[in-house]
Symmetry: C2
Subunit: 364 residues, 2 copies
DNA sequence: GACAATCTGTCAACCGGTTGCCATCTATTG
DNA sequence: CAATAGATGGCAACCGGTTGACAGATTGTC
C-alpha cells in the first residue's frame, strides 16, 4: 500500500504572527556541521525572554492566556531566534498532529488530482497537512490503510470508498471522517449531484437524434458508479431513449479499449461512461476500428479530468467539481475539529455538461 | 506554498516481523469512545512480557541486542497487543523521522508524477514516507520550502530545482540532498542523458525530409531546458539541420498554444519542445489554424507524460525515465542515511525516442 | 576453581512541547 | 482599607520511545 503525505503548509511557528521580518541577511542562524544540536526550543525563548517555558508555550499556542506585554516579549524573542515549533514534540502529548488523511483508489488516476488539490488548499489555509494513501480499488487495502492512518492523523477523508458502510461508520466513531462520492448514513458526505449533468447530457444526445444509449459502468463496488447508472436510466426514461448497461474490467483507458467491442455489439449510438479514462480508451479503440466519433457514435465521459481535451475530438463530459468536493470535505473535518458535531448530512455539489467534440448529431 | 506528504508505507511496527496474524475476528482491540487512551505502548508490552520497557525498545529496533528468547517473547506480546510504534515518540529523541522530502515545481504537472511514484516506491521499500512540496517555479518559494522541510525530514530530493547551485550546496551541507534533472557540483544528481533521445529524434526528422527545426524552450531558470537546447543544437549540427530557439511563456499547454505563432513565423517544419505539455498545446493551436500534423509540421515532445498518447495524432516524444530518476534519487538518499558518503557524482539514465503519429514525412 | 570477557537486561535521563494545579499579583467592590 | 474574584506566571508531571551507563549473569580460559 502506498501512502502519500501532502504537507500543505508549514506555519511559521504556530500559525499566529505569520509576518516574518526579512530584516537581516538571509542567513540561517544555526548552521551546524554534522547533526549537532538543532533548532531553538521554547526553553531558549524562555531564557531569552526571562520567563518560564510553560509561559512561552502558552504565549505561542493559547491566545489570551498570557498578558499582552509578556506575549510581545516572547514573540519578539521567538522571532529573533527564528523559532519553529517541533511538530513531533507537540504531537506527542496532545495527540493533535495537524494532519488530515485522504484515501484515494489510485494515485495515478487524474480524477483524484483535483480532490487532492482541493483538500490540500483548504487544509493549508488552516495549517493542516494532507496525508495521502492509496487503496488500489481493494476494500481490504483501504481498510488497512485507513486504520493505520487513523492513529497518525486528526481526521480522515475517504474519496470513493470501496468498503462497507458499517466499516466506515466504525472508523468514524474513532475520529472525524468525511466521505466523498458516496452517501453513508451517520457520516458527513460530499456528493456531486449527478442528475443535472446527466440530464443535460441525455437531453443533448436525444436532441441530436440518438435513440439507444449504452452506459459503461465502473468498479462494481463503486457507489458512484451505481448512482450514475441510476441517473442515466432515469434520464433515458424521461427523454425516451433505450439504455443498456455494460461492464468494464477496470476504470482506466485500457478498460475503455476493452469495452469497445461490447459497445459496438450493443447497437447503441451514444455512450456515457463511468469516467473520462474509460471514455478516452473507448474512443481510441473505436476510432482505430474505423468508427467515426461523433458521426457514428457519440461519447460522453465523466469528471472532466486533465487531458480530457487532448483528444480529437475533444471529450464531451459531465464535470464534477472535484476540487470543490475535496475542499468541502476538508472543511467538514476542520469544522469537526472545532468541536462542531454539527449536521452530519450530505453536502451536494452541482455537476454540469461540458460539450466538446465527441458528442453530436448522429449521421446515419 | 503547498507541501505534499507521501506517506509511503507504514511498517507494522518497525518493519520487522511483518506478518500479522488475522487470527481473531477483525475487531479493533482498543475501541475508545471519545479521545481516551489510545494505542498500546512499549510499556504495555513490557508488562505483558515481564521485562523492562527499554528491553522492549531494543528488541523492536536493535536486532541482536537482546537474547533470542526474550526477543521472541516480546514479539509475541507486541503482536498480541497489535502494537504499532508511535512515529512521533520515536522522532522526538532521535531526530530520525523516516521521511524523505521531495520538492517539485508544480504538483499538477504530470511530468512529476512518475518521479513522485518512483521515489515513493523506493522509499516505501525501506519504510520511508515521502513528503512533497511545491515551488511554483519560484526560486524563493523553493528555498523557503526546502528550509522548512529540512527540519522535518531525513533527506531531501529536489526535482528540477530553480535555485542557485550555491543554495543547493548549503542545504546539502545540512542534511542529505539529491538532485534530479540538474547537475550540481558536490551534490549527488540523477540526470537523464538527453543526447541519445535527441539524436534519435533529429535523425528521424532529418530522414523524413526536414531541414529547419525549432526548439520551444522551457523556464529560463531550468537547467534542463538549457541542456536540451544544447543537445538539439549539437544534433542539428551533426545532421545538418538549421535550428532556432523560441521562448515560451510557461511550460504548460497554454504556453504551447501561445508559442504556435512564433513557430509558424520561424519557418521550421519540425519542432521539438521542452516538454510534452508545450507540444500538446502547440499541436492543438496549429491544428486549429489548419496546419496538418505531421504532414506540414512534425512535433516532438519531451518526457512522455500521461496523456501524451491521447492526442490525434499521438505525440512523438523523447521519453525520460522519470520513474527511474525518482527511484534512483531516493536510493541515493537511503544510501547516505546508512552513512555511505559515497560517490557524490552524477547518475545518468538513458532517454529514448518514442515514435508516434505527430512526427513524420514532410509533405511539401 | 578463580578471573576475565562477553551478554543481557535495568535504571534513569532525555527529546520538546503541553497542561492541571497552585501561588502571586492586580483590580474590583463594599 | 479590607476582602475577594480574576488574571497571570511558575512548577512539575506527562506523552512514548531511545540510549548511555552499569550491574548481574553467563561463558570461556588457564
Amino acid at each position: 500500500m502506498a501512502t502519500v503525505l501532502l504537507f500543505v503548509a508549514m506555519p511559521d511557528y504556530d500559525g499566529a504572527v505569520t509576518q516574518a521580518t526579512n530584516s537581516g541577511a538571509a542567513t540561517v542562524p544555526t548552521r551546524r556541521g554534522r547533526g549537532e544540536k538543532s533548532s531553538p526550543t521554547i526553553y531558549d525563548i524562555a531564557k531569552l525572554a526571562g520567563v518560564n517555558p510553560s509561559t512561552v508555550s502558552r504565549a505561542l499556542s493559547k491566545p489570551g492566556r498570557v498578558s499582552a506585554k509578556t506575549q510581545k516579549i516572547i514573540e519578539d524573542a521567538a522571532e529573533q531566534l527564528n523559532y519553529r515549533v517541533n511538530p513531533f514534540a507537540r504531537a506527542l502529548p496532545t495527540g493533535r498532529t495537524q494532519t488530515i488523511g485522504l484515501i484515494v483508489a489510485d494515485i495515478t488516476n487524474p480524477t483524484f488530482f483535483d480532490i487532492i488539490r482541493g483538500a490540500e488548499t483548504t487544509g493549508s489555509a488552516r495549517d493542516y497537512t494532507l496525508v495521502l494513501a492509496e487503496s488500489a480499488e481493494s476494500p481490504e487495502t483501504e481498510l488497512t490503510a485507513a486504520r493505520r492512518m487513523l492513529s497518525t492523523v486528526d481526521g480522515l477523508i475517504l474519496a470513493s470508498p470501496r468498503m462497507d458502510d458499517e466499516q466506515i461508520r466504525a472508523l468514524a466513531s474513532d475520529k472525524p471522517v468525511a466521505v466523498i462520492n458516496r452517501e453513508v448514513d451517520g457520516v458527513p458526505c460530499v456528493v456531486p449531484d449527478v442528475n443535472k449533468g446527466i440530464s443535460q447530457a441525455v437531453r443533448s444526445l436525444a436532441a441530436n437524434g440518438h435513440h439507444q444509449l449504452a452506459f459503461v459502468a465502473g468498479p462494481p463496488l463503486s457507489w458512484m458508479s451505481r448512482r450514475r447508472w441510476e441517473g442515466v436510466q432515469a434520464a433515458c426514461d424521461w427523454y425516451k431513449l433505450g439504455a443498456v448497461r455494460l461492464e468494464s474490467s477496470k476504470p482506466t483507458v485500457d478498460g475503455g479499449r476493452q469495452a469497445a467491442r461490447d459497445v459496438l455489439g450493443s447497437g447503441a449510438t451514444a455512450v456515457i461512461t463511468y469516467n473520462d479514462l474509460l471514455a478516452i480508451g473507448l474512443m481510441q479503440e473505436l476510432q482505430a476500428a474505423g468508427v467515426r466519433v461523433p458521426d457514428q457514435i457519440s461519447i460522453v465521459g465523466f469528471d472532466d479530468i486533465f487531458g480530457a481535451d487532448f483528444t480529437t475530438p475533444a471529450l464531451t463530459t459531465v464535470r464534477s467539481p472535484l476540487g470543490e468536493c475535496g475542499s468541502r470535505a476538508a472543511a467538514l473535518l476542520l469544522d469537526m475539529f472545532l468541536g462542531n458535531e454539527g449536521p452530519v448530512g450530505v453536502v451536494r455539489v452541482d455537476t454540469e455538461l461540458v460539450v466538446r467534440g465527441s458528442s453530436g448529431r448522429l449521421i446515419a
